[in-house]
Symmetry: C2
Subunit: 352 residues, 2 copies
């Protein structure tokens, strides 16, 4: 178990802005990225919205609460089993909106294109975005296109921004986890990360594992209808379940205990993780969510999730505990306990 | 004068999506970009918001109209006289919001960073964004950071998205120009483009010309207060005044007549344009706007503009005329007339 002092220090260690460079780990979703966000962006832009450290910002509209969220997508390869950068860019931002309990209303999309990129590939990506946006009933209403010289980008980068509306009485935020709460996941771990990794590494199992990329707002609507008092929703993308739970633990000033035996996982993903020496808790997902609610609501919430096609494999995977060190721990299948730490460095760059 | 048939055909000529590639001209703001947007993005995403072809989308909130706009910034060099990519990313998106007559409320910012980029430069850029956002009273409330491997980006790309609120009774859109309307500009032409070009070309006049990058929403607020019935507002960025006026002419199905003698321009910019063989009408601006209003409101609007520090050099530069070909023409200083065509190809890549 790492020294608690070290963990805290790791999270707050000062970045050397005079001599340092951007490193791949600054984009990993792990500790280095959290440091950069806190010490650079939150420090400079300095406002309460950013200090909440959610994946979106809620603000008061004229007579309703609204939410805005933005994400850039730089995934490689651009096409992968189960999706492409276009569907990912639509789903990912819809999901960040949905994780506040909001109904997504509109998307904006901005493209950075590399000179020489095949228009046939661009069309395939744009058609995929259009299809995903239509299936989700969230139109892309404005956009921008920039072109940079060959060698100054990597095919196409897409930034999508979404806005949505939050119904009255909903208060979902990463600060709201309380000791005694239950931790739920909507389905199997690691499908997206392993699907992309298999493709990059040219591994033999590449044909059978598909990315789970999906828009989760309909699932969330059903969950919120069943249990309006959900405390926290987060989608475990970059850095996986482990990183998201550590962030929530930090923001809510609580600890967590997971039960390894309850983590839903596909056989093939499990096998790939063992083969590659990877911990599935750190693998990216693009169609899954973590929900935290009071113990008394957990079974209701689980029912609502399982009734939805995107929540069929939902499970209660742990509970929130008191812990001044904000550790995430796990009871392993062998009966022991281990700390599930922040991701240090990075596991797989450009996964989203 | 080009054949009208050719102009129309040029705007609508079918792009070869099977064999074609992304070219630099697709990002120029000119005709090739208009073709790509119409034939790819508008065709695929297919909704009324996009078909309006404004730089932002207006939508109905619960009891007010709202607006959303997004832009990616890929300017090179990152630092230039009068600003940097950070201030530009804040000003540019605030301006796109303001051009609907809206008051900008919030910004989202997403960063794509190249591995190896100096953190000191990133900090300088982020501090500049923070300063610009604070000066404009438009907070950056949410964001994202991605890192790509060395050689897959060019230092830093920033995408900002803004949202704003439109007061009742304001109806500003590029479709609203009517024959008899007057065309106004808020100040001198071409400062941004020439400042950046001078730096890139290492020309001797580089020290004296500054980019005009500025947030125009306060100027717009004064203009809307003086003349609520403004018909059109647009900021002439990529492709300059000529391109923006051609777009408006097309969208409003009108022609335009400019008076060359009334175009405000700095001596140095004029000299640089003559020296480099450039037409200032196609040079990018980042702190200027074009306004179109009824003839009866033109003097009032000009007064309101000139009273604001960012509109001191405002001028009435032309009028809207009937023309089924939607040509933009100019009465030259020598008494003749010439067509001010769309920008074909591109003049200076990565200007914003």
């Amino acid at each position: 178990m790492p020294n608690p002092g070290t963990v805290k220090a790791g999270y707050t260690r000062a970045i050397d802005f005079k001599h340092g460079c951007v490193e791949m780990k600054h984009g990993s979703g792990g500790r280095a990225m959290a440091q950069l966000i806190q010490q650079l962006f939150v420090a400079a832009f300095d406002n309460d919205f950013l200090r909440q450290s959610n994946d979106q910002a809620c603000f008061q509209g004229s007579n309703e609460r609204m939410v805005i969220s933005t994400d850039s997508y730089v995934i490689t390869p651009l096409f992968f089993p189960g999706g492409d950068i276009g569907s990912l860019a639509v789903h990912g931002t819809i999901n960040d909106i949905a994780m506040s309990g909001a109904t997504p209303s509109y998307l904006a999309a901005s493209f950075i294109l590399e000179e020489g990129f095949a228009l046939s590939d661009l069309k395939r990506i744009v058609d995929s975005m259009a299809q995903s946006a239509m299936a989700a009933s969230v139109p892309i209403v404005t956009g921008d296109t920039k072109v940079v010289e060959r060698g100054n980008a990597d095919g196409v980068f897409i930034t999508t921004t979404g806005i949505g509306r939050i119904a009255e009485g909903i208060n979902i935020s990463s600060e709201n986890a309380r000791p005694g709460d239950r931790i739920l996941i909507s389905g199997t771990l690691g499908d997206h990360g392993i699907a992309v990794m298999a493709l990059r590494e040219n591994l033999s199992f590449q044909t059978s594992i598909q990315s789970d990329t999906a828009a989760l707002h309909d699932l969330v609507a059903n969950m919120v209808a069943a249990v309006p008092a959900i405390h926290v929703l987060r989608d475990p993308t970059r850095g996986g379940v482990a990183t998201v739970l550590n962030e929530i633990a930090q923001q809510s000033a609580v600890g967590m205990m997971l039960y390894e035996s309850r983590l839903p996982m596909r056989e093939q993903v499990n096998a790939a993780c063992e083969f590659l020496g990877l911990d599935p808790l750190y693998i990216a997902n693009e169609g899954k969510l973590i929900a935290i609610c009071g113990a008394e609501d957990a079974e209701n919430l689980l029912d609502a999730m399982r009734k939805h096609p995107l929540g069929e494999d939902a499970a209660i995977i742990g509970e929130v505990i008191e812990d001044t060190h904000c550790f995430v721990q796990m009871q392993t299948c062998f009966g022991g306990k281990r700390v599930v730490d922040w991701l240090s460095g990075e596991q797989l760059p450009r996964i989203c």
